[in-house]
Amino acid sequence: MILYLLKRLAVLLASTAVAAVAVFAFMAVLPGDPAEIALGVNATPDAVAELRKQFGTDRPAVAQFLDWAGGLLQGDFGTSYVTSSPIGPQIGDRLGVTLVLVLGGMVVALVLAVPLGTFAAVRHRDPLGAAISAASQLGIAIPAFLAGILLVFVFAVQAQALPSGGYVPIAESPGEWLRSLLLPWLSLGLVQGAVLTRYVRSAVLDVMREDYLRTARAKGRGSTGALWRHGLRNASIPVVTVLGLQLATLLIGAVVVERVFVIPGLGDLLLNGVAGRDLLLVQGVVMVLVAAVLLINFVVDVTYHLLDPRLR
């Protein structure tokens, strides 16, 4: 197990390093000069040249990369071209908001999917089970941003019950904070919940056909009891894998949902950065997202090992 952990950790670090190079390279080929954009239609060639020098974008790409990567190792993301403030704290602030959004969405998804999926599997011959199955299919077909727009229309514009967008920090008002996040959580969670419901259903179905469950039932446990005691842990293995993948999807989906709900999270920061060609900022954000996805995969792999003794 220790050896496995070490090996897996080495892979994690290597992929992060490769990702850093890739992220930097992508930014370097992006058309549009940060200095030109900062100065806009009123720029003079001299001012552009001077600003390039100030940004350091007039130096060779390798030097720029080494500077950036060196800073990253020390936890320094550099200084934004556009806002001339350090990038690290900005990402930190926004990451907090996005994490709350993503984790809340995940909770909604789990709360929906685990009971519904299990129920749909246990009662897969019932009309109700089939209905859940069909409903989840519908949920998969709806992208999160569309769900968001629909939710805003129903709950904010029509019912006037919840705000249509905006974000209130929890320190300012916990009640408003909750209200501002409910719809975003739902729009992320409903769609992911639908996907997850199908996985839970098929995982539980598979497990129900296993011999050991029949044996447990034969030994006198009720079918619910047997499933509870012996089935769920086995069913959870494929679900955890999907959950990991979904966390990554949620992180990316949050970018769009943040825009719909005007939430100042990482996605919003990223899109602003791209529009203003604040390359260092974009690099920083993308790097954090990539690292997060890699980390999630790492955690999933490790969890997988813990859950399934056959892999040890």
Binding site: P31, G32, D33, E36, I37, A38, L39, G40, V41, N42, A43, T44, A47, E50, L51, V82, T83, S84, S85, Q90, D93, R94, V111, P115, L116, F119, I149, V152, F155, A156, V157, A159, Q160, A161, L162, P163, S164, G165, G166, Y167, G175, E176, L178, R179, L182, R259, V260, F261, V262, P264, G265, D268, L269, L271, N272, A275, G276, R277, D278
Partner: protein, 499 residues
């Protein structure tokens, strides 16, 4: 059973939070609790990248700060007139080269420092030494700025200039404190009726009334400028009470949502934004005046405005706005006449690239322009470019385009046609001479010369002017003091109030 329990809990949560927020409405009660501390929130589309308009381009910065936080010696009123602000009055010498500004007494910067003639010299000298934008050249005409006494500043010009006082009403004339320029990007220090109270990046800027303001105190205690990247999100925010005002409607077709006069009010005014169909005068086929003229005859501007922008806006025909003193309606110069256009093209057909920014007005207009040009034999291939980055790079900086469409929002910006390196690549020395004469002449001469200049641009078909961008504001009923015309660089909050 377990599942049902969870559902009830979740449903209860939803109901409870919905109920607890119901009473707070738009959150406009303010924190002070007194009626004086009323606040409003206004929705905008573009958030400032930072708060330093001396080094960063972008209309969003002066829009938020000028007149509200920073003040100049003079300002532009709603009719386009220059009126006193920090200067009580000014005298112009007979040779029109010396301006003597008498400054208001008892004016303080928000940092506490008094405002004196030293700050005038400091601010104007700083334009030359520290500002990074090209527009700073507008003040190159200043020879020297001197302090006569604490409340008198004298500006001497190299030559008489009508543009000087106008420039002083823009961000170029903003007065900075000698002790307040250390962190312009984050901490603005001005003399205005509002001060920056907080900035939640990516979300909003809060302005609070300046308690030590020299003039009439603003009716509101606080103003929130809320930034939306998505027009639908902004519309929804007004519909649901998240904001009180939409500062600029992004798509006129969305106005019907706010048609209920019991709840909302729509204000339509003018802007300085000429939506220009730019033609690259520097390369074929638009280096040929006849081809450019053909384009102007080929476009049915009325139909274009109706289709592309729901008929909101005004047809202008040249590079002037209706609030400019020298404005003349030039739409009659090239009436819609496809037959004439074909004749000018001499039966030839052309394939051209129309590289436009991916902005709603440009995309909508481009489709109409394309279909109308096709009828006279010009096939325009539309290529939308990400704005600003790619459009600035390809069209504006490199000049690699045949046709483009962009809203030139700067005030009194006819001068951009006098710069032959500007992306229009228009080169007519006659035009430059007219502008120079206009700037040096008397006010009457200026008006006459600029009328002629606008006519020359139109005759030369240096570009085509599709329409004047309208200023469309929607507000909750009861909001007063909205600036109808968006003709200055700032969104003036000073009169904004709520009944």
């Amino acid at each position: 059973m377990r599942r049902i329990g969870i559902w009830i809990a979740a449903g209860g949560l939803l109901l409870a939070t919905a109920a607890c927020g119901g009473g707070s409405g738009n959150g406009s009660a303010g924190t002070g609790g007194t009626p004086k501390a009323q606040s409003l929130s206004v929705g905008f589309v573009a958030e400032p990248a930072n708060l330093d308009f001396t080094s960063t381009e972008g209309a969003a910065i002066p829009q938020a700060l000028l007149v509200n936080v920073y003040e100049g010696l003079v300002k532009l009123d709603q009719n386009g007139e220059i009126v006193p602000l920090l200067a009580e009055k000014w005298d112009v010498s007979p040779d029109r080269k010396t301006y003597t500004f008498t400054l208001r007494e008892n004016v303080k910067f928000s940092g506490g420092a008094p405002f004196t003639a030293d700050d005038v010299t400091f601010s104007l000298d700083r334009v030359k030494s520290d500002w990074k934008l090209k527009i700073k050249s507008q003040l190159d005409v200043i020879d020297k700025v001197e302090k006569k006494d604490d409340s008198t500043a004298v500006v001497t010009l190299k030559r008489p200039s009508n543009g000087f006082l106008y420039s002083m009403a823009t961000r170029l004339g903003a007065m900075f404190s000698r002790t307040g320029v250390a962190d312009l990007a984050n901490k603005p220090v001005g003399t205005g009726p509002y001060v920056l109270s907080s900035w939640r990046r990516g979300d909003s800027i809060q302005l609070a009334a300046n308690p030590s303001y020299w003039g009439t105190k603003p009716p509101l205690g606080a103003i929130t400028l809320k930034y939306f990247k998505d027009a639908t999100a902004m519309n929804n925010a007004l519909l649901t009470g998240g904001i009180d005002v939409i500062s600029s409607v992004q798509a006129p077709e969305s106005l019907q949502q706010f048609a209920d006069p019991g709840r909302f009010e729509t204000v339509e005014g003018t802007t300085n934004g000429e939506v220009v169909l730019s033609m690259n005068n520097g390369r074929p086929p638009f280096d040929d005046k006849a081809v450019r003229q053909a384009v102007r005859h080929a476009i049915d501007h009325k139909a274009l405005l109706d289709t592309a922008w729901a008929g909101r806006g005004q047809l202008i025909g040249s590079m002037t706005a209706p609030t400019d003193p020298w404005y003349e309606d030039r739409t009659g110069d090239y009436p819609y006449d496809p037959a004439k256009a074909k004749q000018l093209l001499g039966g030839k057909t052309y394939n051209v690239k129309m590289r436009i920014p991916n902005l709603p007005y440009a995309v909508n207009s481009a489709q109409v322009v394309k279909s109308q040009l096709a009828q006279v034999g010009i096939n325009a291939e539309i290529e939308p470019l990400e704005f600003p980055a790619r459009w600035l790079d390809q069209v504006f900086t490199k000049g690699d385009y045949d046709l483009s469409i962009i809203n030139h929002v700067e005030p009194r910006d006819m001068g951009i046609f006098a710069d032959k390196s500007y992306y229009f690549r228009y080169d007519n020395p006659e035009f430059g001479k007219l502008l120079a004469a206009a700037d040096e002449g008397t006010e009457q001469e200026q008006t006459d010369d600029l009328k002629q200049a606008a006519k020359l641009l139109s005759d030369d078909a240096a570009a085509d002017w599709l329409f004047l961008f309208p200023n469309l504001i929607v507000a909750k009923k009861g909001v007063t003091g909205l600036p109808k015309n968006a003709i200055a660089e700032s969104f003036d909050f000073t009169a904004l109030a709520k009944q």
